[in-house]
């Protein structure tokens, strides 16, 4: 009996082996595709609705194929037809297709008939990749950052320390020399001449009327200079960099990711205010961008940025797990940085749309600002200077045609400045 059993088991073993082999081959076949190509295809076509490890508009796709075949017994052909024409599959009455369709709120997946079998294989190869351990990676980068910083620190400290010791030694040496010399003098009975009867310098100075007058004038003038400087900066908040309720990095958005300023500040095109984007504008992107994957520093780590995105979700009332709005929103109270006084009228659209001035002209290198600050002084002198120097952009603008021709003839110039167009008149900004 035992033998028989053995034989059976060995046969079973063989069979199992075959299955494993087969399975291996299928998994081999899944890896036929190129994961690198797959990644770019995935980012181009799928990433708007899918993530590898997170449910979004559509389901998470990590190892989708193996999961499908394990759990539903569906093969790659099913995936081909689903990806190329999901609604067709749903209409045909496929059970699982309908199940997925209903589970995700009856939103049919966009059809991708342009994807070839090879493309899909590549994508599936990408999805089949194992998940990398994020913790180790973070730790590694963290450690690396630390070491680099540490090395920089040590070199500076050494130089400074060495210098300090050198100075102390020098001072000590001088003191000792002096002391020894005095001792020698005492030993040789040489009387050291004491300076007697000489007026102290300060007294001589005080008694010299001319010098006093000159100094007084100097002091008065310099204090007036500083007082003027102090008073002129009252109310000028250049460099004002308040802490905002959500750490919004213009560097990440406008710099690293190259988002156009006017994508978010859209009213700058047509309105006097540039407009702080409403939260629904943020959510246009952040519905799918739920984590930060860019460069990090110890101060601004991935966790830090992800936490700020969470703050946005809380404010907009977005439930990231369920991928839906809760309706419980809390408007964000941003701290206003650029404050013009009420009596000055400024219109963004005049500068942005009509004149075509770059945002950076007044707002500085915003794309490099981790924290936004006021770049320009926003004083009247600053406005006026620019109006004096800047030529009016009259190209293809029917409004300017006649007036520019007449005025440039009058002033005898080719290009008129804003000032020559009347941009220095009081009433243009004060009403």
């Amino acid at each position: 009996m035992k033998k028989v059993i053995h034989r059976k088991s060995s046969r079973n073993f063989l069979r199992l082996g075959l299955i494993v082999l087969l399975a291996f081959t299928t998994s081999l076949s899944a890896q036929e595709g190129d994961p690198a190509k797959g990644k770019s295809l995935f980012n181009a076509n799928c990433a708007a609705c899918h993530q590898l490890d997170k449910k979004m508009t559509g389901p998470a796709l990590r190892q989708v194929e193996s999961r499908l075949s394990d759990e539903q017994g569906l093969d790659r052909d099913w995936l081909y037809s689903w990806i190329r024409n999901s609604s067709g599959l749903i209409k045909s009455g496929d059970a699982y297709a309908n199940k997925v369709y209903n589970e995700f709120g009856g939103a049919a997946m966009t059809a991708f008939p342009q994807l070839s079998d090879e493309d899909i294989n590549n994508i599936l190869a990408y999805t089949a990749e194992e998940k990398k351990a994020p913790a180790a990676q973070a730790a590694a980068t963290g450690a690396a950052a630390q070491t680099t910083q540490a090395s920089g620190g040590i070199s500076n400290e050494i130089i400074l320390g060495a210098l300090a010791i050198l100075f102390i030694l020098l001072a000590l040496g001088l003191y000792l020399v002096n002391k020894t010399l005095r001792r020698f003098a005492a030993a040789k009975n040489i009387e050291l001449e004491l300076e007697t009867g000489r007026k102290p310098l300060w007294k001589a100075f005080v008694e010299n009327q001319f010098l006093m007058i000159v100094v007084a004038i100097f002091f008065l003038l310099s204090s007036a200079y500083f007082a003027y400087g102090y008073l002129m900066q009252v109310g000028v908040d250049q460099g004002y960099q308040p802490v905002q309720p959500i750490h919004f990095s213009h560097k990440v958005h406008a710099g690293d990711n190259g988002v156009d300023c006017k994508y978010c500040h859209s009213s700058a095109r047509v309105s006097k205010t540039s407009g702080i984007p409403s939260l629904n504008v943020c959510m246009n992107c952040h519905k799918s961008i739920y984590e930060y994957n860019g460069e990090t520093t110890p101060e601004y780590s991935k966790e830090f940025y992800d936490g700020e995105i969470k703050k946005l979700y809380a404010a907009a009332g977005w439930d990231d797990a369920e991928q839906k709005y809760t309706g419980d929103s809390k408007p964000v109270k941003w701290v206003r940085i650029h404050n013009l006084p009420d009596f000055a009228y400024f219109n963004h659209s005049q500068h942005v749309t009509v004149a075509g001035v770059e945002c950076q002209t007044c707002h500085g290198p915003v794309e490099e600002m981790e924290i936004m600050y006021q770049h320009a002084p926003l004083t009247m002198g600053w406005c006026i200077n620019c109006h004096r120097e800047t030529n009016v952009d009259v190209k293809d603008n029917g409004y300017y045609e006649k007036i520019h021709e007449e005025l440039s003839k009058k002033y005898g110039v080719d290009n008129l400045t804003a000032a020559q167009m009347g941009g220095l008149e009081c009433g243009k900004c004060h009403y």
């Binding site: 047509v270 206003r336 009228y345 009347g422 009081c426 009433g427």
Partner: protein
């Protein structure tokens, strides 16, 4: 040489031994200074631990702390939307078409909203139906932000929920179903097809419903006459642009007569065109806006007006009606008017404001007889549906306990009824009383329930202003408070789950639009059905409740009845509505309270207008006090045993034997203390007749008026208001009637416009825009819509009565009113020119200061003239006011240090100084001092601070916006795009604004017009505001 004079302070000092003198030599003060009294209780002072040193320390520290704290700049928050509505862009205004229908004013308007807040009312130029935004409609936006609005439903003074309100009222209404007690709906004139349907539904649900329509100021007699003649209830429509001869007998048709809104049509024919303009003859007792604009004005008592009307009827139609008792001069004027009317034929029209069915019948007959083109009974007006008889009946029934429930909307009978006490008494006998009201006013505080009603800018609605001409009301903002409109409650009571907006849409799609798009109608704000073109009178409702109404009156009999009813004893009082206050609904509106009446130029008051002759007889007087303000005596006015004490204003042009008093004042409930001004004339509105026999006696005391201009005459100074007659205008050269002033240069007369006589060098202004505002004195009726529009656009503060009295009013735009001292201005000129010698000049100039008994009147809107050679600019020590290339005189408020040199040097007196911080001072408790009221402020215009000068900017924020829009689109600007707040508000076409460098523009052509002149041209200021000489059509027959 020194003097030994001794100066005596008192006779006492003569007495050498006086003890008092001796004591005074010793003491500085005669009696001990009561320091303890003003320092407080001595015991507390002694026991307190705070020493003087401590006190000084505290003062020092707190001052230092405050100073340090002030160094820190304020942190400003900026809070964006969570989800931004797609139609809102912060900083860009949205406009919505809607319709005001508050029972008194009906007009299609545009609402300007900024970030969702309505901030201004403008004319809907697309809707040509009837009327445009008058001063009250322009001001109505402020009512939305009234801090005294009821913020939720209330039951006997305590707040309740709408659910509780609905449950309780429905229960009470259901219990009345089938009982013998009536449910009464007492409402304003809605003229709303949807509401009419709803009330029918409501009647079906509860059975015994009576709908009483109540207009506070009744036009019942005219509606009765119309009903008797045409079988249906309504008011005849008039289009004065079709009339070349207009005769008005007591009708203030440029004011609120029969709902108002006739001024735009009237003005069209007032501008002389090819030597022709309309001729307007006015017979009236009070000096009204209409009378002031008339070519010929005949002051008549109301009794004489009846006779005059009968006489005109007799003369025009040839039906002999014997009329006697008219003075000879009047008789001649009446004859001449009748002759002109007859001659004009279909180009003539006659109207009357006499509240008498016979008079109104005669007018309808006359216009029919003339086949007047201006007269249109077919497209009857529906805006005055009120029935005086029904209201009287209702009060009686309430007192008799026949009424089970009364639901009121848009009415305030406790304030507006002459027998208000009867109404209040009746109200107590009613089981259920509900008032839909925006305020805790006189009536709603007497009812069981106050149903908080929304403002019209928060409501849905529709209105059929005249037959076939429909308009829609849509909300421009979500309700600010927990309010519900009357129609929504009707829907709830009839168990209709529809919203009122859906209900309107259904009604419109089914009955009105005839296949047209509802959304288009909503976008436009109005819809004119084709029915309007046809004989539309049949579509009017037949509201014959009284069989009497079915019988037509024979016209001749009406005229005779008119004559026989014309009996008077003693003084006659004519009650009227003021341009600013109307029926008094908006009494809590500071813009309207401060709006100076076009005729008396007095704000914050109503008053008894009396003729000079009567005033002398009765011992009433007006006097000017030291600061230039006007004081008047009081008079007791008694009608039918009711006496009220009113201040007296002596009014030039008031017919002898008559007095006038305006409605709308004397309200006390639901008003801020400052707005509780004037006396309530409704108490004298016996039988809803605006003419009452009255006894008047002088009363003690003196009233302080807040007038912005006294009863000034022009003293023959034709360079201020130039005017001429049509005859001269047509026949003589310009230099006879609109000569440019000249000065002597090298003993030669040189026009002031020539550069040789100018102090200044001329700038080249031929490039770019050069703005000019033209004001046609012929078309301007003085209605004041521009004044309020300017207020709203430019954040002009309200300063209150006592400040206006000190001449510190802030209006950037004023409408000056001048009287002639002779019968006409021409007479003044002649008199002035013929004065010779000192004796004559002393006496005659003195005489000329007084206005004539029946003076000619001229209106002249004056704002900053934006002089090219501005005297104000040269005297400013800090260059706060300067000139722009586009012709505007700029004022940089932040640069101004408040020397007021500019105001002193301004020949036109248009600069206004901010004596106080009007937007942050509790003494000025008007809209700018509460958070709600501030929502009306225009964010594009700065709110001025204390100590700076301000003035008209020629709406530079509007011209700049127009330019910017064009630049963005990259196109040239078309004529008509440039507007100012005043020119946009002017529906009569008197104000035209534009760019004179655009040679084809309207304003550039007006500048070349013969009638054009500049104000005080001889000063040589070269203003950018131009006026068109007033031409009067004085041609008799």
């Amino acid at each position: 040489m020194s003097s030994n004079k001794k100066y005596w302070k008192s006779v006492e000092e003569l007495n050498e031994n006086s003890s008092i003198v001796e004591t005074l030599k010793q003491n500085e003060f005669v009696s001990e200074i009561p320091t303890d009294e003003f320092l407080g209780d001595k015991d507390t002072l002694e026991s307190t631990a705070t020493t003087r040193r401590d006190f000084l320390k505290y003062v020092g520290f707190s001052t230092a702390a405050a100073t340090l704290a002030a160094c820190e700049g304020p942190v400003k928050k900026s809070i964006p939307y969570v989800v931004q509505p797609t139609e809102i862009i912060p900083g860009v205004a949205n406009y919505y078409a809607t319709t005001i229908a508050d029972g008194f004013d009906f007009a299609s308007v545009l609402v300007k909203t900024r970030e969702g807040r309505p901030i201004k009312i403008e004319n809907n130029n697309l809707a040509t139906t009837h009327g445009s935004a008058n001063a009250r409609v322009n001001a109505s936006v402020l009512g939305l932000y009234d801090s005294l609005r009821v913020q939720g439903p209330k039951k006997e003074g305590a707040s309740i929920s709408w659910d509780a309100f609905n449950a309780e009222t429905t229960k009470a209404l259901t219990s009345l179903k089938g009982s013998d007690k009536e449910i009464v709906l007492l409402t304003q004139t809605f003229a709303s097809p949807s509401t009419r349907n709803l009330i029918a539904d409501f009647n079906e649900e509860y059975g015994n419903v009576r709908h009483v329509v109540y207009d506070a100021v009744s036009e019942s007699a005219a509606a009765d006459a119309f009903q008797k003649k045409y079988g249906k209830r309504g008011l005849a429509d008039y289009d004065f642009s079709e009339a070349m001869t207009i005769v008005s007998v007591g009708a203030d048709f440029l004011g609120d007569w029969q709902g108002g809104g006739f001024d735009a049509g009237y003005s069209k024919n007032r501008i002389p065109d090819h030597g022709k303009m309309s001729r307007h003859i006015q017979f009236e007792s009070n000096m009204s806006l209409t009378g002031a604009n008339a070519d010929k004005r005949v002051p008549l008592t109301p009794t004489q007006q009846k006779l005059a009307l009968a006489k005109i009827y007799s003369l025009v139609t040839g039906n002999n009606v014997s009329v006697s008792g008219l003075p000879e001069q009047v008789e001649a004027a009446v004859k001449s008017a009748a002759a002109q009317l007859k001659k004009a034929g279909s180009k003539g029209v006659i109207v009357t404001g006499i509240q008498d069915v016979n008079a109104q019948t005669v007018v309808l007959e006359l216009n029919e007889y003339l086949t007047s083109k201006a007269f249109s009974p077919k497209t009857a007006l529906k805006t005055k549906e009120g029935n005086a008889q029904a209201v009287t009946q209702l009060v009686e029934d309430m007192k008799a306990g026949k009424v089970g429930a009364i639901i009121m909307s848009g009415v305030n009978p406790v304030y507006t009824l002459p027998n208000a006490s009867d109404f209040t008494e009746g109200l107590k006998k009613v089981q259920l009383s509900v008032a839909f009201s925006m305020k805790e006013d006189e009536t709603s505080t007497q009812t069981q329930y106050i149903a908080a009603a929304p403002h019209y800018l928060e409501s849905w609605g529709d209105v059929e202003i005249k037959v076939g001409h429909y308009a829609l009301t849509q909300p421009a903002i979500r309700p600010l408070f927990d309010t519900r409109q009357f129609q929504d409650a009707l829907l709830a009571w009839t168990n209709n789950s529809q919203s009122y907006s859906d209900y309107i849409k259904t009604i419109w799609n089914e009955d009105i639009l005839n296949g047209a798009s509802f959304n288009q109608a909503l976008h436009d704000g109005f819809y004119v059905s084709e029915v309007a073109e046809l004989d539309a009178i049949d579509t009017l409702e037949d509201k014959t409740t009284n069989p009497e109404m079915a019988e037509a009156i024979a016209p001749a009999a009406a005229a005779s009845a008119l004559v026989s009813s014309a009996k008077s004893n003693g003084l006659e009082l004519t009650l009227y509505t003021k341009t600013g206050m109307g029926d008094g609904q908006q009494a809590n509106n500071p813009w309207l309270q401060e709006f100076p009446d076009p005729i008396t130029r007095t704000s914050w008051d109503n008053y008894l207008t009396v003729s000079k002759a009567d005033a002398d007889e009765l011992g009433l007087m007006n006097k000017h006090v030291a600061n230039g303000a006007l004081n008047g005596s009081y008079a007791n006015v008694t009608v039918n045993g009711v006496t009220i004490k009113a201040p007296v204003m002596i009014q030039p042009g008031q017919a002898k034997g008559t007095v006038g008093l305006s409605f709308g004042y004397g309200r006390t409930a639901g008003l801020k203390e400052e707005m509780q001004t004037g006396v309530n004339a409704y108490a004298l509105y016996h039988n809803f007749n605006n003419v009452q026999n009255v006894t008047i006696e002088a009363a003690s005391g003196e009233h302080e008026f807040a007038s912005v201009q006294l009863h000034n005459t022009l003293m023959g100074r034709g360079d201020i208001v130039k005017e001429t007659t049509l005859e001269i205008f047509n026949t003589k050269d310009k230099k006879h009637w609109n000569a440019v002033p000249v000065v002597s240069l090298n003993h030669e007369e040189t026009p002031v416009t020539s550069p040789e006589v100018d102090l200044w060098d001329e700038f080249d202004r031929s490039i770019g825009h050069h703005f000019n505002l033209s004001i046609d004195l012929n078309a301007c009726t003085g209605c004041g819509a521009c004044v309020i529009a300017c207020h709203a656009e430019n954040n002009v503060p309200v300063v209150g009565k006592s400040e206006v009295r000190r001449s510190r009013d802030m209006h950037w735009l004023r409408i000056d009113r001048y009287y002639s001292s002779e019968v006409s201005f021409e007479g003044d000129n002649e008199k002035k020119d013929n004065i010779s010698g000192l004796g004559s000049s002393l006496s005659e100039f003195g005489e000329m200061e007084h206005a004539s008994d029946n003076p000619q009147v001229a209106f002249q809107p004056v704002m900053c003239q934006h002089c090219n050679h501005a005297p104000c600019e040269t005297v400013c020590p800090v260059a706060a006011t300067s000139h722009g290339r586009q012709g505007q005189n700029h004022m940089a408020y932040n640069r101004c240090v408040g020397t007021r040199y500019c105001a002193n040097n301004c020949p036109y007196k248009v600069r206004r100084f901010n004596w106080f911080l009007y937007n942050g001072n509790d003494e000025f408790d008007y809209h700018m001092n509460d958070d709600l009221g501030r929502m009306v402020l225009n964010p594009d215009v700065v709110v001025r601070s204390r100590g700076v000068m301000e003035k008209c900017s020629m709406c530079i924020q509007m011209t700049q916006k127009t330019i910017l829009d064009a630049k963005r689109d990259g196109r040239e600007i078309k004529d008509g795009e440039f507007q100012t707040a005043c020119s946009a508000a002017c529906s009569s076409g008197a104000m035209v604004f534009g760019d004179i460098n655009d040679k084809d523009s309207k304003v550039a052509k007006l500048k070349e017009d013969n009638r054009m002149y500049h104000l005080l041209e001889h000063v040589g200021t070269k203003p950018n505001v131009q006026y068109q000489t007033k031409v009067r059509n004085t041609t008799e027959a």
